[in-house]
């Protein structure tokens, strides 16, 4: 069977094998826990968590330190044992600050008394699994950090028949999911089974890009003769791991504009999230660590690290030999959708799949002048007209942006990557999205009156 894929898309950094050679062969090392962890209350999409500890409190590993701020939210647990040093605003990887619980590590890793392992998945009811996921505060670890229990609660009237694990890892440079699938395939498959059971679904697919052939094989050997689970090999193309692109590649189903995967009977969960669910069910311990790829041309010895949540970026980078000097960009996540950081004191969170450090790019001649070459149109995985929308957004014509479906933009950056004139296309699209989003909210408010 040919490798599955979607229409459009691009091949970023193909000449250097998408930058993955730097770390794909590096076995994941465990970074010793830091002296202090920083746990932002806004560690996920949705309402921030609410701290229930105060300065001076003693906390144990896995203890609840903040409760969920609503349904679309998640609780936060201590990834180390120790003493609460502060509950205050700290820098967040989104460039703002977030109320954070700061814990001084006592390096004892004393587990919380309330931690109890769960029974085997086969002996649990779907609701019990869902409740365990919600209680442990598991959020999407692919980068978007959407609370997983919300994802696994399909809206009324929809029926999920397929669970897809996202192991595409299409972002250049990142190899965290690759190493996880290679080193812990059992956890990934176990996590998939738990999610399938939580949704009472009998079909599970793990989608992996073919540049991770070894990961595909290790997963297949764990799955063995199991009929309900299979690995789908996907073409190497960005953004293959985009939710709608992944669903289309594997099932040929088209998620409608503005709709959720549940609308076509699919739930998508990242492989790292699945492994985290499996480990949490086995031990009862909420997520305390994740694999982070620390990489890029400006990192001296790139590698993959098991990192305690709340560890500052600086500690991860130090463990990888530090940085070369110069004009640099430190990126949380991958180079296509990641966020550039102004400080290395921001902490690793559940969605931090990578810390990438690249040299700052130089300006080019004719910067910003569209020559209408059409490469952005060809590369758009949603088949939008990026240059046309960008120009409309810049002149304030948001009605045109809306008519051209700007809200369907997934901000993958394929258009801007391809643009030979380096037009800041994605910024224009974001501008349009923000303005059209506001228009839509205003209209809804009017209708409500």
């Amino acid at each position: 069977m040919p490798d599955l894929t979607f229409k459009g898309g691009i091949h970023p950094l193909q000449s250097i094998h998408h930058g993955k050679d730097l770390t794909s062969g590096r076995v994941t090392r465990t970074l010793p826990p830091p002296a202090q962890v920083i746990l932002p209350m806004a560690s996920f999409i949705g309402a921030p968590a609410k701290p229930i500890v105060k300065r001076g409190d003693t906390v144990k590993m896995g203890q609840l330190v903040a409760e969920a701020g609503g349904f679309v939210s998640a609780p936060i647990h201590a990834p180390v044992s120790g003493k609460v040093a502060a509950v205050e605003n700290r820098p967040h990887s989104n460039g703002k600050t977030s109320l954070s619980v700061v814990i001084d590590n006592d390096f004892a890793d004393t587990p919380w008394e309330e931690i109890r392992p769960y029974p085997p998945v086969e002996d649990m009811e779907p609701q019990e699994i869902l409740a365990a996921i919600q209680k442990a505060g598991i959020v999407g670890m692919g980068g978007a950090t959407f609370p997983t229990h919300v994802k696994l609660s399909p809206p009324p009237g929809t029926k999920i028949d397929t669970v897809i694990l996202n192991g595409a890892e299409c972002e250049p440079y990142l190899t965290a999911d690759h190493r996880l699938m290679l080193e812990e395939p059992g956890l990934v498959v176990q996590g998939l089974k738990a999610v399938m059971r939580a949704l009472s679904v009998s079909q599970g697919v793990i989608g992996v890009e073919v540049n991770k052939r070894d990961a595909i094989e290790s997963l297949r050997s764990v799955i063995g003769g199991e009929k309900s689970i299979r690995v789908a090999s996907l073409k190497v193309k960005y953004p293959q791991g985009g939710e709608k692109q992944l669903i289309y590649a594997i099932t040929r189903r088209v998620v409608p504009s503005g709709g959720l995967p549940a609308a076509v009977g699919v739930a998508v969960v990242n492989v790292a999230t699945a492994a985290a669910i499996a480990r949490m069910l086995q031990t009862g311990m909420p997520v305390t660590q994740r694999i982070v790829t620390v990489t890029g041309p400006a990192v001296r010895t790139p590698g993959n690290l098991w990192v305690r949540l709340g560890t500052p970026f600086s500690a991860c980078i130090e463990a990888c030999g530090g940085l070369t000097g110069g004009e640099l960009k430190v990126i949380s996540g991958g180079p296509m959708m990641g966020l550039a950081e102004a400080t290395l004191e921001v902490p690793v969170m559940a969605g931090t799949s990578g810390i990438l450090v690249v040299p700052q790019e130089k300006e080019i001649a004719s910067s910003g002048r569209c020559i209408r070459c059409g490469r952005c149109v060809e590369g758009c995985p949603m088949r939008l007209l990026p240059t046309t929308i960008e120009q409309a957004a810049r002149r304030g014509d948001y009605e045109t942006c809306r008519r051209l479906h700007v809200m369907d933009c997934l901000e993958c950056g394929s258009c801007a990557y391809q643009c030979p004139a380096h037009v800041p296309l994605l910024q224009g699209l974001r501008l349009g999205k923000a303005a059209v989003g506001k228009l839509i909210r205003e209209e809804k408010a009017k209708e409500g009156k």
């Binding site: 504009s257 180079p335 296509m336 959708m337 002048r369 030979p420 380096h422």
Partner: protein, 321 residues
């Protein structure tokens, strides 16, 4: 160590506008070399003067209007070379200077510069020159290549002229058509050189096959069906005149052709139908320039009508967004 904070994406492809334009210049090189070999030193002079005039005009206009100077992107050099390739070898040097000035100052910069012109600047310049100095741009202005004869340039009717006048017996053989041993503008005579350029542009992914292939195929079908079902005549239509130069290097101009694949198909068919119509039934022997110019001005309309089908959006019939 300085940390930079900018919006994603944080990496870009190595492709730049300047690299695209450089590739176009490289693709034009075989035809340009052939022009010098076939027509002699005046061809070299015309091309050099034309490129200098185009680049100089762009530099001067941008300086005078206090805008950033962008001659480094090489787009003006491409325009200058194309202007020279669109005049007969007998043209005086000032003709290409006027043409390049018009192309850059009026057609390109007056409308906002690179990416904003509504017509291909080189073709618009050719149309202007043809209208102002018809005797220097057509008919007896065309000379036979001097490479073979070794004698001074003599007037030589182009194959399309012969076809128009019904002098079918005087038509050159296929070898001459392919190599370029025929009368015509500097850059248009050698089909082989132009096809080499096409191959290079396709390999480098500067252009897609759509516009050149569909354009030429449309002309082939129409000239065969309505030109007397004669393979030889159809061959003359395809291999002489400005069809290959136009289809490969000018109809594919990004700025003045549609953005979408479907739009480009419509554009190419339109160019082909117009070219064949002018050549078969019109007053001129040649129609490539006017066809492309007409489709250039139709491009905004095509882009308005033809849009890609957005992923996940239901198709609505008869409703144009």
């Amino acid at each position: 160590m300085n940390l930079h904070v900018t919006a994603s994406p944080h990496v870009h492809s190595e492709l730049t506008t300047a690299r695209i334009m450089r590739d176009v210049l490289i693709a034009l090189a075989p035809a340009a070399l052939w022009a010098v070999v076939a027509f002699g030193a005046n061809a070299l002079l015309l091309m050099a003067v034309s490129v200098l005039a185009a680049v100089g005009t762009e530099y001067a206009v941008q300086r005078l209007t206090h805008r950033p100077v962008t001659v480094n992107d090489l787009s003006a050099a491409v325009t200058g070379l194309l202007v020279a390739m669109n005049v007969p070898a007998s043209a005086p040097w000032w003709l290409v200077v006027v043409g390049s000035f018009f192309a850059i100052a009026i057609v390109k910069q007056c409308f906002g510069g690179l990416g904003h012109n509504f017509m291909n600047p080189a073709l618009a310049a050719r149309a202007m020159l043809l209208a102002c100095w018809p005797s220097r741009m057509s008919g007896s202005a065309f000379t036979a290549p001097t490479f073979w004869s070794g004698v001074d340039a003599v007037s030589s009717a182009t194959p399309l002229d012969l076809l128009k006048k019904g002098l079918v017996g005087d038509l050159p053989d296929v070898g001459s058509l392919l190599l370029g041993n025929i009368g015509g503008c500097l850059g248009e005579v050698s089909a082989v050189c132009l096809l080499l350029g096409l191959a290079y542009l396709l390999i480098r992914r500067v252009i897609s096959w759509r516009i050149p292939v569909i354009y030429v195929a449309t002309v082939a079908v129409m000239t065969f069906l309505f030109g007397g079902l004669d393979v030889m005549r159809t061959g003359v239509h395809l291999l002489s005149g400005g069809l290959l130069l136009g289809a490969i290097f000018m109809a594919t101009d990004y700025t003045t052709s549609p953005l979408t694949a479907a739009g480009q198909v419509i554009f190419a068919v339109g160019c082909g139908v117009l070219t064949a119509t002018i050549r078969l039934w019109g007053g001129y022997p040649e129609g490539v320039s006017y066809s492309i110019l007409l489709m250039n001005v139709a491009t905004p309309l095509i882009d308005r009508w033809v849009k890609p089908h957005v992923f996940g959006v239901e198709r609505r019939r008869g409703k144009h967004a």
